[in-house]
């Protein structure tokens, strides 16, 4: 029988300061040198990391009651609208929200200099943030307007709650059209003159546990520089896994996570507002997930390298916006990272949108936390849908009404 370990055994070693923890990059070499069985026996935890723009992110917060009371019907933070459709002084600010007076794409391509992600960054950085609340007034909440300034410390709660983060894999974007296009995948020059990808490849959390054996509801993670948890599967969680075009390679895609954590424990370094020209504002989120090496199979996936991980190439001038299923083929992360990729016979310069060096720093930080005994692993309280469950996306029913 192969190697079998339990969460309890691994946590015991973490408490004793004896756990062997390596990053998802380091483990690749280790398996090459010592083999799967030996490495599985030796290594307790593999740490992953990603630092990428993640639009489906935001913070819910409670700003406390004024005297007299107000029931926020409309709420703005630094001029960026937040959601007023929940209780009196609760609100949710989304990463892609933009000020009411933002010129958007009226002078194309728009700049989107400041949005919800920037507000969240300013909050975590401890800066003063302008809070404006508007209400229609009720007998129990008579006040109609407030303009004040708040800081993160003064809020009762501020919780980062991101409905879809850590996308397992992502389209590799090109532009087959004849004009420059501005997308959430960056600026894409015409006639496939550049190609952009957006995951950390061999460090990417969900690419290293594609069957969701260990990552589930309740998994404790590195989130925005603090501790967070996997709250649920992310929206559009449609995981699939297929063999890739080369031996032992894998095309895993479609998995996502909903994550949650106390904003007050996070750091401005790992939550950054970002502006995509012609597209909008978003937030770059740092996430790191530990993978306990419970058996050899878990290790086999955790040790997949950039050369064995593939992603589909998609045309963002037509196939993507018009939701056509065509793919221009598969490329490996090793090719993408090399700086040049060949697609349909054409050599194209490639660039990432996701910071590999920062992802590595996150995986390294999580490794330090675990080794120092301050971060133990949690057993998921519920597993997430796996590729075997075959969950697929439903298109929007567009009707004439």
């Amino acid at each position: 029988m192969g190697v079998q370990k339990s969460y309890a055994e691994i946590n015991e070693r973490i408490r004793q300061g004896k756990a062997v923890v390596v990053t998802a990059e380091e483990v690749i070499q280790l398996v090459k040198e010592e083999g799967l069985t030996e490495t599985a026996r030796k290594v307790d935890v593999v740490t992953t990391g990603t630092f990428s723009p993640m639009c489906s992110s935001g913070v819910y917060l409670n700003f406390g009651h004024s005297a007299p009371r107000i029931r926020g019907h409309k709420v703005w933070l630094n001029g960026v609208p937040a959601y007023g459709g929940i209780a009196a002084v609760d609100t949710y600010i989304g990463a892609t929200a933009l000020p009411d007076d933002d010129p958007l794409n009226s002078s194309f391509p728009g700049e989107f200099r400041y949005g919800g992600g920037h507000v969240i960054h300013d909050l975590v950085a401890g800066k003063l943030v302008k809070l404006k609340v508007w209400s229609y007034g009720t007998d129990c909440y008579p006040r109609r307007e407030i303009e004040t300034e708040i800081t993160l410390d003064q809020l009762n709660e501020a919780v980062l709650f991101n409905p879809r983060n850590a996308y397992q894999n992502y389209n590799v974007a090109v532009n087959c059209g004849s004009r420059t296009i501005y997308t959430y995948m960056g600026m894409l020059k015409p006639h496939m003159a550049n190609i952009h990808y957006s995951t950390s490849g061999q460090l990417s959390p969900l690419l290293k546990d594609p069957n969701f054996r260990t990552i589930g509801v309740g998994t404790k993670i590195f989130l925005g520089g603090g501790e967070g948890y996997v709250a649920w599967n992310g929206t559009q969680h449609f995981p699939s896994i297929k063999p890739g075009p080369t031996e032992n390679s894998v095309l895993a895609a479609g998995g996502t996570l909903t994550v949650i954590g106390d904003l007050k424990g996070m750091s401005p370094k790992w939550l950054l507002g970002a502006s995509f020209i012609g597209y909008g504002a978003t937030m770059v989120v740092g996430i790191g997930i530990p993978i306990p090496i419970l058996d050899e199979e878990i290790l086999r996936y955790a040790a997949l390298s950039d050369a064995e991980l593939y992603a589909p190439v998609v045309d963002y001038s037509d196939a993507y916006p018009n939701r056509k299923p065509d793919s221009l083929g598969l490329v490996s992360y090793a090719e993408l990272k090399s700086g040049w990729v060949t697609v349909q016979g054409k050599e194209i310069p490639s660039a990432p949108l996701s910071s590999y060096s920062k992802a590595k720093e996150i995986a390294g930080t999580l490794k330090d936390w675990i080794q120092s005994g301050k971060f133990e692993l949690t057993v998921p309280v519920k597993t997430l849908p796996t590729p075997a469950d075959g969950v697929v996306g439903k298109p929007m029913p567009v009707k004439d009404i």
Binding site: F51, S52, P53, P109, E111, R113, G186, M187, K189, N194, I195, H196, L272, A274, S275, F276, I277, T282, V284, K337, S338, G339, P349, S350, A351, P352, L353, S354, S355, Y356, S357, K358, K360
Partner: protein
């Protein structure tokens, strides 16, 4: 860049910049013809720089500053790489294998594309 209206094309303004304001002048490109609007691209330096500019402006010359250089705010850059396949000169490039994005100002041709595409607004044009 200086823009001369046709009426000023024959006046020795540059001579006065040197003589009265003691400025060092390096003309890069000149397009000045009698009785026509003219342009002059030049580098200007010296202690009385501000006064010199004020003088030629007061004479009706339009002064426009051209971008001199692009700088990177290293604290803002996260080495995402989004600028590297857009930068036409290779000034912004990835160093492998650690995937750090390097900015080499020497290679920069000041096209300013990076100032638009950098999601973190780390690239800045200095005038």
């Amino acid at each position: 860049m200086l823009r001369f209206p046709a009426t000023l094309a024959e006046q020795p303004l540059i001579y006065y910049l040197v003589k009265d304001y003691d400025l060092v002048i390096n003309i890069i490109k000149a397009n000045i013809n009698p009785h026509k609007e003219g342009t002059l691209i030049m580098e200007l330096s010296g202690a009385n720089y501000e006064q010199g500019i004020e003088y030629i402006r007061s004479r009706g010359v339009q002064v426009q500053f051209l971008t001199e250089e692009i700088v990177r705010n290293d604290d803002r850059c996260i080495s995402c790489g989004a600028c590297t396949a857009v930068c036409p000169s290779g000034a912004l490039h990835i160093e492998r294998p650690d995937m750090q994005v390097v900015f080499d100002g020497e290679q920069c041709i000041v096209c300013q594309l990076c100032t638009k595409v950098c999601p973190l607004k780390a690239m800045e044009a200095k005038f």
